[in-house]
Symmetry: C2
Subunit: 321 residues, 2 copies
């Protein structure tokens, strides 16, 4: 380890915002040094409580995360926030401009906030988000919140990183609760009915509770519904109480080791996937060869399964059947 | 090729609904015979026009797809519909019950409708959806519609399969259009403002058009906004007209080969990814070994990067640096 990296790691562990920020950039850009840093930081991880926050655009997730962060800061807990924006693979950034977030925390060293957008190929975002969560964990953040728009498969991958998942809903999200996707129901440990002063909130709330009755309990936990108006800071303390209750519930069960192992299995698969792509495509095939293979498929001179078998064979992973 | 498979392929090409249905199941279950069938069908693909339809839950995508399918059937075009439900990795199926779709088409042989849910590991759904789109193409469907809930990264992968992408919105999806994610703006070739008889539609429409002014043109195409009330079959013909206009626009440009090659590059990467995982994890490591590796990581005895390097080394893909 060079002295520069050594210093960097020390600064990260001390919670230095600039050092953390540089490391997140290294993770996003898939710099070689990102892995080196993460390997050295890894033994210091495992202490943060990860809260996933997901929901459709417009439900007020960002404001909710902001208020929850404020509450935890009030309790002197250090907080990290990762806002995942998976929606811009074309320009590599948000054309509407990254909203200016959480200005109220701008002078607070105990909170680190970062938006992340899609880079690289499939699964890259989940990978980068996971690495960043580890980084913030090692940097001593007691609470790490991961906010994603969803719920699609990519978001589910991301949310599975969390210890506790909040699903944010609002009245008027469709004709009624029946429209909500089943997966949203299954993923939520706590349901937040935000903007609950809006018309239709009572009806929505009732329907939501009725549907939650149908969701099978997981380890004796019945997901509660918490009504909030994040913009007015209403219901945030009740939400924090429910999160604490959930955390205590699972700590009492002592199934954390099993959950952790499941978590790491998924993590390893994801990491393996991105490494494999780098090795096999990067090392055994140049861009021109890949282009000509894709052209042969586009012109129906070769089928895609045969093309992929060719790539695998070059990497010494040919079909043995 | 066995006689059974041979017959099966003939039946698929003839548009036999049961034969197609069996093949979709084989694709979903990753049966060995799925690949065999797809390889034989591949030369007969490339004729379908693929329409991607995406948008948040509750915007009325299914109804819209239903009505659009009805319109194309009225023009004697054969139609395939793939409704992707990426949201249920936990139970493997929708707990609220798969909505009964498009009953109006139940007796029509010219339309094939199928819901697909997540199976297997990451990227599996995009893979299965793509394979099914190829299958329906080879089965002679002139229009293949792919409906997804989104927009997350998984959905973007799926939508990129399409020749033309509709983004479905509705009034009241948030405080205003500013809340829409940038990626949604970039992905849409045509924007559908459904439920356009609702309060706030005019304001939403205006804002949407204002924002679309900011989106860079792609190949001289300015995405139009079409107002619909799908439940009343209103605006569907205008929507079909815009789709036809988009199709003609790109056919005039004659950039189909370039788009096709880009499409197949992405497809090959995706296929490669799933094959690599099968080969490397499946062939070189059993479940118990993988479990013990994940346990070592969970207990911080080993870092995840080292663990993955071990798996790669076993598969003969170790780090050469």
């Amino acid at each position: 380890m060079t002295i520069a990296v050594d210093n960097w790691i020390e600064q990260i562990r001390a919670g230095d915002i600039r050092a953390i920020s540089r490391a997140v950039s290294a993770i996003e850009n898939r710099d070689r040094e990102a892995e080196e840093i993460l390997r050295h930081l890894f033994p210091f991880t495992g202490n943060a409580y990860r809260i996933g926050v997901t929901g459709a655009p417009g439900t007020g997730k960002s404001t909710l995360v902001d208020r929850l962060a404020g509450l935890y800061r009030g309790e002197r807990k250090t907080v990290g926030v990762i806002a995942v924006d998976p929606s811009s693979p074309f320009t590599g950034g948000a054309i509407l401009g990254d909203r200016v977030r959480m200005q109220s925390h701008a002078t607070d060293d105990g909170i680190f906030i970062r938006s992340m957008a899609t880079r690289g190929y499939l699964g890259g975002l989940a990978q980068a988000t996971g690495d960043t969560a580890l980084l913030l964990d090692a940097a001593g953040k007691q609470i790490v919140m991961i906010e994603t728009v969803g719920v699609g498969q990519g978001e589910i991958e991301i949310v599975r990183l969390a210890d506790c998942t909040l699903v944010v809903l609002m009245p008027g999200m469709g004709d009624d609760v029946q429209n909500l996707k089943a997966g949203l129901m299954e993923i939520g440990d706590i349901f937040v009915l935000n903007k609950s002063d809006r018309e239709g909130a009572d009806r929505f709330d009732q329907q939501l509770r009725a549907i939650l009755q149908l969701v099978p309990e997981r380890n004796g936990w019945k997901p509660p519904v918490v009504r909030t108006i994040a913009s007015e800071n209403k219901g945030i303390d009740e939400l924090a109480r429910q999160i604490a209750r959930f955390r205590a519930h699972f700590e009492r069960l002592q199934d954390r080791p099993a959950r952790e192992i499941a978590h790491w299995k998924e993590w390893l698969l994801r990491l393996l996937q991105s490494r494999l792509m780098e090795r096999v495509v990067g090392d055994h095939m140049n861009a021109a060869e890949f282009e000509s293979l894709a052209t042969a498929v586009a012109e129906r001179r070769k089928d895609p399964y045969a093309a992929v078998n060719e790539i695998l064979a070059r990497a010494g992973l040919g079909d043995k059947s």
